[in-house]
Symmetry: none
Subunit: 264 residues, 2 copies
């Protein structure tokens, strides 16, 4: 919960537009991932379905955040001043609690992991994700900066575990994939870490004493950009992996002469 | 119907976010179950369709509960105080009355039960579920604790009957299934009992004298978590059973070389 500061019309508008754009991106991506399902082999459709559900849920949450943003300010004498309605920034955490396990599961489902191992990885990643987000939520609603720092640091432990799994435990699995799939996966992993890392950076802004209006605007826009990268562009890369594997398999089975492979 | 207590901003926010997350989860799951229909054999599509309808209905109800929650409180002097608008918590029972028979029917439809036996089981389970929920509803709107206890205890009788059917009557049916399906079904049953049991626990909180704000918050979050488990995760396990059976049947018929089976 933020103690909201007065904003200039430009600052208020920038956040409004960032929230609007993110809502639209999530809704558009939900439609896109539904449509792309038919382009991948049956084995990868669950992954794209999970991505569609995840961005759909995120779209709903951004729409709620947008409504909260409109209610939190009123234009008075040329500046936007808080109405007293709290801006529920922490509802982002509710969103992540639902969507992050889904997008991690989607990643496991496009790789050639045996079912037993895949279920174990999904379960461990989901538990770590829920812990990471729940600890971050507790820190987010603290007003005391020391407590914010402690809960934030605690939240980094499961984050580190997720990175460990994605780098270390998946090394063996990746050796069964084609070089092209390995390349896509490496880029996907980098996108995930880079976009996820924006959230702790925004979280740390008040700890660094950056509490003015510009820092707040930066934080709000940062969360939105990070969410678009971690869900929409991430989902497109999940599709790229699934499509690549679908085409290779069709070539192997002689089902088709995949034009996209021939051309490349 | 609750006599609402004043809440801290953090408590109010936690319930708001839990309701928001549950609404998003139900909507996301509705989309997901619609998409997953094409991944299972024709015989199991009715089960997934029922699950999609059930979570869609639950999403609507949670959205209504969310609206009620917003109307029930106002921020005054740093605390959330009741506006006098009653919070219609009992609308959860209206939701369950519609959705619980659907999710029990979905479970019967993914098992290899003869049609006559399946219809009889669905009918008996649906009647027991309606009784369980109706009796619980009557208890929920009582203000007198003894009456609450009596109606609550009465509601446990049809609950016990449902458990009896799932454990005892289905034993014979399960012997026709593969070990893997039996394993999935066992876990599904445990998920059902564990998540359903959270509701009577929340119901019993006032009987145990736990009536303060923290108990109320725990209860609201508990209902939401239980509903997500009993509908969204339950539905995913219904899908897992249906998908498993679809792949085995395709293998048997030589329709395909299901990669998911080969890989595991």
């Amino acid at each position: 919960m933020n103690d909201l500061l007065p904003l200039t019309p430009g600052q208020h508008l920038l956040i409004l537009n960032a929230l609007n754009l993110t809502t639209a991106f999530m809704g558009g991506a939900a439609l896109l991932f539904v449509l792309l399902r038919s382009q991948v082999a049956s084995a990868y459709r669950l992954a794209l379905s999970l991505m569609a559900a995840a961005v759909g849920m995120a779209g709903y949450h951004y729409w709620q955040i947008l409504g909260g943003w409109r209610a939190a300010y009123v234009l008075q004498g040329g500046a936007y001043v808080p109405t007293g309605q709290p801006f529920n920034d922490a509802s982002r955490y509710a969103d992540w609690l639902g969507t992050v396990p889904l997008i991690l599961a989607a990643l496991m489902l496009v790789l050639d992991i045996g079912r037993r191992k895949s279920a174990s990885l999904v379960a461990r990643l989901a538990v770590a994700a829920v812990l990471m987000i729940a600890l971050g939520y507790v820190g987010e609603v603290q007003r005391e900066m020391t407590l914010r720092a402690v809960w934030g640091a605690a939240s980094c432990v499961p984050f580190a575990y997720i990175l460990f799994v994605l780098w270390s435990e998946l090394r063996g699995v990746l050796s069964f994939e084609t070089p092209r799939v390995r390349g896509l996966f490496s880029r996907l992993r980098v996108l995930l870490v880079a976009s996820w890392s924006l959230h702790p950076l925004v979280y740390a802004l008040p700890l660094l004493g950056l509490t003015g209006a510009p820092a707040f605007v930066l934080g709000q826009v940062g969360h939105s950009v990070a969410d678009i990268c971690a869900k929409v562009f991430y989902g497109l890369m999940i599709y790229a992996v699934a499509r690549e594997k679908t085409l290779s398999e069709e070539l192997l089975l002689g089902l088709d002469t995949p034009r996209e492979l021939v051309r490349s």
